[in-house]
């Protein structure tokens, strides 16, 4: 068990190293001359040279990668070309709204999607099942920002129940904080809900055919107890795995959701950085999100024993 945990943690190191190598190498993979692209059309050759030097493109690839990796390990994500502030500081200032949005979305999505999937599996083939599956197809097809605009139009502009856009820090109280996050969280969560509901239904259908479910029914265990205690527990591992993998969707969607709802988080930072071609900022955000993704999935892997005591390493 302990050996497994150590091995699993060590196994993430090469993955992270490859992420770092890849994110770093994008500067070299990209077609054309990145320094010229970043400098923009009105740049003088001197500007281009200055940016080339600040990106380190004038030094050999491996030397540059070594220095960059060493900086990353010390928590230095580089310096913004545009503001001249350290990227790590800029991220720190913007991280709260993004983390809030993602956590609220995660809780909301899981608490809606899992019961949806369970009920769909329980009532397989009925209109309830069809409605859930239909919703899942829609959730996959309607892009985040479209859902966002529709929600904002109906619930904020027409009905005036919730604020249209903006963000209130958590320090100003739970009420205003959550009020601003509900619509973005539903918009961002739509794909995620579709994904989790689908996998929950599929896994539950499989589990519900097992002998022990029939035994439980035969000895008179109540329907709810069968579904949620006997079946869902045994279906937990694939569901939790998909919740972890789906975080990639949340991260990508958060960038867009933040621009729709004018939330001043990392997504906005990224979008602003794109417009200014501030590559170090983009690089820092991509790296940070990828590491979060790897770490969350590591935690989920290690937590399997909690959901399923049969798993012993």
């Amino acid at each position: 068990m302990f050996a497994y945990i150590v091995r699993r943690i060590l196994a993430t190191i090469p993955v992270m190293a490859i992420v770092a190598l890849f994110v770093f190498s994008l500067l070299y993979i990209a077609p054309g001359d990145p320094a010229a692209v970043i400098a923009g059309d009105q740049a003088t050759p001197a500007d281009v040279e200055r940016i080339r030097a600040s990106l380190g493109l004038d030094r050999p690839y491996l030397v540059r990668f070594g220095a960059w990796l060493w900086d990353i390990l010390r928590g230095d994500l580089g310096t913004s070309i545009f503001t001249n502030l350290p990227v790590a500081t800029m991220i720190q200032q913007r991280i709260e709204p993004t983390l809030s949005l993602m956590i609220v979305t995660l809780i909301l999505a899981v608490s809606i999607a899992v019961p949806m999937g369970v009920v769909a599996a329980w009532r397989q083939g009925t209109w309830v099942d069809r409605a859930v599956m239909g919703f899942a197809v829609l959730g996959f097809s309607v892009p985040v920002f479209v859902v966002g605009y529709v929600l904002a139009y109906v619930f904020a502009l027409e009905l005036d129940w919730l604020p249209v856009q903006g963000y209130t820090p958590f320090s100003r109280g739970f009420g205003p904080w959550i009020e601003n996050l509900i619509l973005p969280a539903v918009a961002l969560g739509s794909v995620y809900i579709a994904l989790i509901a689908r996998i929950t239904r599929a896994t539950m259908l499989e589990v519900l055919q097992q002998d022990y479910i029939r035994t439980a029914k035969a000895k008179g265990v109540g329907q709810r107890s069968i579904l949620f205690m006997h079946a869902l527990k045994n279906a937990a591992v694939p569901i939790v795995t998909v919740i972890g993998i789906g975080i990639a969707l949340l991260i990508g969607g958060a960038v867009v959701t933040e621009s729709v709802f004018a939330i001043p988080g990392l997504g906005r930072l990224t979008v602003d950085a794109i417009l200014r071609r501030d590559y170090p900022v983009i690089q820092g955000v991509v790296l940070l999100f990828s590491f979060i993704y790897v770490l969350v999935n590591l935690a989920i892997d290690l937590a399997y024993t909690l959901f399923d005591p049969r798993i012993r390493y």
Binding site: S141, V255, V271
Partner: protein, 305 residues
């Protein structure tokens, strides 16, 4: 009545009346029409996709005006008989722009699906057959898969000049790891099949085994995957254009039209609304096609999902 019997029966002889079949035989229509009837999702999805292809191909004839023609005097007109979807803040006809937007979306969707499938297939085959390459390639793919695809595409677009070709390239790179994983998984399970063992035992060379026995069996799951990639590529393209990292603003793509309508969406929601509806319907159609193909090609999966 009983046309088969000609001679009259002798008196006193009783013949049991002919019984009809208890159940009429199932009329399984053969051919293309029958296939569509049995798979309504493919029919609906396919029809909508073909409709969008039609719109994209004939956009210049269906459009009312030049999609890039400015008319400041006519700006932000509400939808009317003259301007079906209204006009945007520069007076351009939203209807004509949305029709032309289908071209960008479909080009990106189909190109990414094709390129990612071909490259992913090649990587997956190599990885599934060469043990040494497998561990290196798959470690690398694990790393790439840890980068959320949209962010990877954003990072690539920040380094290149905005063009449809670069958008295709960026999204393709982000999608490759998933395809290679899928193909590798299929290849690994196919290698254990008795008929592959038989082919090996009878002295078939590896390239021939791949070509004759492995490749044809990867095509079904790959086709399904390709449709899903097409759908997600169209969404990614719209997202990239929407946040200003995609197709250059002069080209009317659905993401660009929405990005331009963004500032006015609270007062003139139709500028955002129409491209959003077209995008959603197109993605929905491609997804339905994918679901239908998956059910038709893999009946075992169909029961579960």
């Amino acid at each position: 009545m009983d046309g088969g019997r000609t001679a009259p029966l002798p008196p006193g002889v009783n013949v049991a009346p002919e019984m009809g079949d208890i159940m009429p035989p199932v009329k399984a229509k053969k051919g293309f029409i029958g296939f569509l009837r049995r798979n309504p999702t493919i029919a609906i999805g396919g029809f909508l996709v073909l409709l969008m292809v039609f719109v994209a191909v004939f956009a210049p004839y269906l459009a009312h005006r030049d999609p890039t023609a400015l008319a400041p005097a006519l700006r932000t007109r509400e939808p009317s008989a003259q301007f079906w979807f209204g006009t945007d803040m520069l007076g351009r006809d939203v209807y004509s722009r949305v029709l032309h937007g289908a071209r960008v979306s479909l080009t990106v969707g189909f190109s990414v699906a094709f390129c990612a499938s071909v490259i992913g297939l090649a990587i997956g085959l190599v990885s599934g057959f060469i043990r040494l390459a497998d561990s290196i390639i798959m470690r690398f793919m694990d790393g790439m898969m840890s980068i959320p695809p949209i962010l990877l595409a954003i990072a690539l677009m920040a380094l290149t000049r905005g063009s449809v070709g670069n958008v295709v390239l960026a999204i393709t790179i982000a999608e490759i790891p998933r395809v290679s994983r899928l193909v590798r998984g299929v290849v690994l399970s196919l290698r254990e099949q008795p008929y592959v063992d038989a082919a090996v035992a009878s002295g078939t060379r590896t390239p021939m085994i791949i070509l004759r026995h492995i490749l044809p069996n990867t095509l079904a799951p790959l086709t399904v995957q390709a449709t899903y990639i097409c759908a997600s590529a169209m969404i990614t393209e719209a997202i990239l254009s929407f946040i200003g990292a995609g197709t250059p603003p002069i080209i009317p793509s659905w993401g660009n039209i929405m990005a331009e309508g963004r500032a006015l969406w609270q007062v003139k929601p139709y500028i955002v609304f129409f491209p959003a509806v077209f995008l959603s319907i197109t993605v929905l159609a491609v997804n339905l096609l994918g679901d239908g193909l998956r059910d038709a090609l893999d009946p075992r999966m169909a029961k579960r999902l």
